[in-house]
Amino acid sequence: MMAKRILQNKTFIRRLCLAAAVLLFSILQNTPGLFPEIAGIRAMPLIPLVTAAAMYERDIAGMLYGLFAGALWDVFASGNSFNAIYFLIIGYVCGILINTVMRSNFATHLLLTAGAALIYNTGYWLWHYVFTGCDMKFYSLMRYYIPGTVYTLILSPLVFFLVMTLERKLRD
């Protein structure tokens, strides 16, 4: 009876679907050979997914999706909780911005994704290239990290419409 009531709750189903999407995107993004690379440039579809989820689900759910996405990414990365902290902040900030000063639509999603991807990539570059004194800093930024941001942005409409469809179909 209880289980049946839970399964009829659209909010629960919707949030479960979003969590499943985060898991799926994390695996697609971080498993070699599952997601296409263009001339060595990799996309990060988790970024538009977390911003879209935070835009629709707002600050608290947004930060929890961010935390989940970041924690999953950290399993593949060698840097403590860098991704979990980053995505927690992104999810919360996007939710707060939509709550207070922005409207939830495709243009704002593009804007938030661009900002989030740029902050992630430049942050990663600063941490792994500039602070470690690595050579070819600017080459790496221009060759991989800025194009990676653009590639991520190209994917963002697809991710946004996926989340939007999910939200519209499963809204109470």
Partner: protein
């Protein structure tokens, strides 16, 4: 502003953020390179990434086939099926040959060094943001793996474990500028260390700096681990000398090293979890 700071959302945000930062501090103190959250997530969602890794290698091994369409005649379809079947057999055969080669080299090493303790692991993922060929393996501390354990393929060095959770570990390869391995060239016996730079890493090369200006090391020479730091056992092959160049800052020479294995093609590796002389 006051209302925002007192909101339950902000309080929850601060609590989670503090917990994450505390977790990071714990991971640094415990020298495991992974926070408690990271460990928990890797245990819970480990099977999903392992499944994805298997799917990924399945896709790579899938023979290219052009299935029938309406204008194919029955005979052509049957021939196609036969070709597909033979291709699949060929893939299976190549897999077996690959596995045999992998285990043969491992067996040689095992016979030469009875003190080595090994764990075999499959590559299940890689960080999408990393440019230095790092990857995630399917085994972790529950299999006896610890930070700084050397990772090998046959007799060749691949890299070292940089962080570990109970079911996963992340490996930094020789193509990461943060990795330094004490090394010697086998013909001349010149000792130095092998590292890389972002520029060489891009070309899948390493560098052995600090050689004497009149070094006798020449292209084609073999470079092996010296075992000085206690992280790598001695005499594992790093790669071969590709070229000798003058250093830009001083009068020393540097050897450009081509690693013995192509890290992008690896699917399985061995982790040395113990050996005589290992640094504790």
């Amino acid at each position: 502003m006051n209302r925002f700071l007192k909101s339950s959302g902000f309080k929850l945000f601060v609590i989670i953020l503090s917990a994450l930062i505390a977790g990071s501090v714990i991971s640094v103190v415990s020298k495991s390179g992974s926070s408690p959250l990271n460990k928990a997530v890797s245990v819970v969602f480990g099977p999903a990434s392992r499944l994805a890794g298997s799917l990924s290698s399945g896709f790579r091994n899938m023979p290219v086939s052009f299935r029938s369409s309406t204008y194919y005649k029955k005979q052509a379809e049957e021939l196609k099926k036969e070709v597909d079947s033979l291709r699949e057999q060929l893939v299976d055969y190549e897999d077996i040959v690959h596995q045999n080669e992998f285990y043969k080299e491992f067996l040689d090493l095992k016979e030469e060094h009875s003190d080595y303790k090994f764990t075999k692991a499959a590559i299940v993922g890689r960080d999408a943001a990393d440019r230095f060929s790092s990857f995630t393996l399917s085994k972790g501390s529950s299999s006896g793996i610890a930070v700084n354990n050397p990772v090998i393929y046959g007799k060749y060095v691949v890299g070292t474990v940089s962080s570990v959770t109970p079911t996963r570990c992340v490996v930094k390869t020789l193509l990461n500028p943060g990795i330094n391995v004490s090394a010697y060239e086998i013909r001349t016996g010149e000792v130095s260390y092998v590292t890389t730079t972002a520029e060489y890493s891009k070309q899948n090369l390493c560098v052995m700096p600090g050689l004497s200006p009149s070094t006798a090391v020449t292209a084609g020479g073999l470079v092996c681990t010296a075992g000085i730091s206690g992280i790598y056992p001695a005499d594992l092959i790093i790669g071969s000398v590709d070229d000798i160049v003058d250093a830009t800052a001083d009068i020393s020479a540097s050897a450009i090293i081509k690693p013995g294995v192509d890290f992008s093609q690896l699917t399985d590796v061995f982790i040395i979890t113990g050996f005589d002389g290992q640094a504790k």
